[in-house]
């Protein structure tokens, strides 16, 4: 077990861990971008109800949502080389990051496909009909009318996925990837100051996820600015609120 708590180590470790931040962010960015492509390809057969492919994409989504990401990491790490050996491609020298990114991309792809599906179904059917009415082709209607709207709708879900993906990257160290968590493991065991290391690491994760959350919130507001803002009444329970409401109605009645 570690030695006595020493705040100096915490301050010392923060910059050391931050120097590995770009690798963590690279994993997140690469896997989300790749995941968007995968998710799109997976979502299309189900949106257009293409016979056999629809079933296949259902199984894909069910599998990647139904198993832990940790297991998926190991499956890709040990399974992919075997699969590629069948077509005589040797990947035994490939960087471990390739496997990590691929695993996270396939994992997020399943979730992203669900987000895209929900968002596309969330666009009013009349929009497509209107597009057809002015003579657009199916492809035009999809890319020009439906997709931009669906994107705006899916931003909150995508934001959650990106933040979830950021937090999931803390597992990449299990394959020996040298990102922030991997670095923290070596720092912690080298100095025997475990708790300081993990506090420093938590702080970094916390700040990044907060920044991401803010950014997406901003983006969402921008993308949805054409929508009319409907003021939603604050619905809360509690005597104080109730009392306030009765007070307001009393005032309105002039009592």
């Amino acid at each position: 077990m570690g030695r006595k708590f020493d705040i100096h180590y915490l301050l010392d470790f923060l910059p050391k861990l931050l120097s590995y931040l770009h690798i963590t962010l690279f994993i997140v960015a690469a896997s989300i971008l790749l995941g968007l492509v995968v998710g799109f390809i997976i979502a299309l057969p189900r949106l257009y109800k293409i016979p056999v492919l629809q079933r296949a994409s259902q199984v894909y989504v069910s599998f990647f949502r139904g198993t832990p990401i940790l297991i998926q990491l190991f499956l890709i790490y040990y399974g992919l080389p075997e699969l590629l050996k069948l077509v005589h491609i040797d990947v035994s020298r490939a960087n471990v990051l390739v496997f990590v990114i691929l695993a996270y991309a396939l994992h997020s792809g399943a979730f992203i496909s669900e987000a895209i599906r929900a968002a596309v179904n969330g666009v009013d059917r009349g929009q497509v009909e209107a597009a057809y009415a002015i003579g657009m082709s199916g492809y035009q209607a999809f890319t020009r009318i439906v997709l931009p709207q669906a994107l705006a709708i899916s931003i909150p879900i995508l934001a959650n996925l990106v933040i979830g993906n950021l937090k999931d990257t803390s597992l990449a160290f299990t394959l020996g990837a040298m990102e922030m968590t991997g670095k923290s493991q070596t720092l912690a065991s080298a100095t025997q100051h475990f708790i300081e290391t993990y506090i420093a690491l938590s702080l970094i994760y916390f700040v990044i996820s907060t920044v991401l959350e803010r950014t997406f919130h901003h983006l969402e507001r921008r993308l949805l600015r054409h929508e009319k803002q409907v003021a939603e009444p604050v619905v809360r329970y509690g005597k104080r609120r109730l009392w306030k409401r009765t007070l307001i109605t009393r005032l309105e009645k002039g009592g």
Binding site: T67, I71, E82, I195, F206, Y237
Partner: protein, 236 residues
């Protein structure tokens, strides 16, 4: 090393030894998390002065950091805290009495609590406030109205999210291997390393988790239909 289909089955059978640990971690963390979550949700809805800021900070921090961090922080931090307290107060015990799985229970309950609080909060806010007013009008106190009228309805509303959380905690329990708890993932690593058949062992583990997830999904779908029976609209 090529795929040995027979070994998948062998690995699958040996994984069952570790199944109870995975289930214990999942069930304990979800149940304790639900209790913490309900308390936090009520504190935040009623804006109880000091507790409100504490609860908000708790939810914000836990949701902003990876689950692995919670586990490692508890695993390395709690013993320091307990031993410090014990030596300061002159108590005759130390942190070694906590079993390894105890750290998993504690940290995953804390994790689940933060996520559950958001689920419960959304559920409570989704219940029509007229229900609360109706309860007040027949003379119920706030705790009575909450317990008898609002919470049962909120539970029905947040059932799908609860099931998602349950699946999330089931998958999250695989992290317990980092504190040397032998759950399914750790057992798969053991079987894989001793037989040098990694792919087969992880395929078996994936199958087991997939099966359990589908079971949970089916069970919730059934439960949802049952619970929402009263919830039909219209005049019929």
């Amino acid at each position: 090393m090529s795929l040995d289909p027979g070994f998948i089955w062998t690995a699958f059978l040996s994984l069952f030894k570790a199944l109870p640990n995975t289930l214990y971690i999942t069930i304990v963390s979800v149940l304790v998390g639900f209790i913490i979550g309900t308390a936090v949700a009520l504190i935040r809805i009623y804006r109880i002065p000091v507790l409100y800021s504490l609860a908000s900070a708790y939810v914000l921090f836990i949701r902003g950091t990876p689950m692995l961090m919670h586990l490692l922080l508890i695993y390395f931090g709690l013993p320091i805290l307990i031993d410090g307290l014990a030596s300061a107060l002159g108590l005759g015990f130390n942190s070694t009495v906590i079993p390894l799985i105890g750290f998993a229970y504690i940290s995953f309950s804390i994790t689940a609590g933060a996520y559950m609080s958001e689920v419960v909060r959304a559920g409570i806010l989704a219940v029509n406030r007229g229900q609360m007013e109706a309860a007040y009008s027949i003379g119920m106190t706030t705790p009575q109205a909450l317990r008898r009228i609002v919470l049962p309805q909120a539970l029905a509303v947040c059932l799908p999210n609860l099931s998602n959380n349950l699946i999330g905690m089931l998958h999250g329990s695989t992290l317990a291997f980092t504190v040397s708890v032998v759950e399914i993932n750790a057992q798969a690593q053991i079987v894989a390393a001793t037989n040098w058949k990694f792919l087969e062992a992880y395929l078996a583990a994936a199958m087991l988790f997939w099966g359990m997830t589908i079971l949970i999904e089916q069970a919730t779908a059934w439960l949802e239909r049952r619970i929402n029976k009263y919830n039909r609209g219209g005049v019929a």
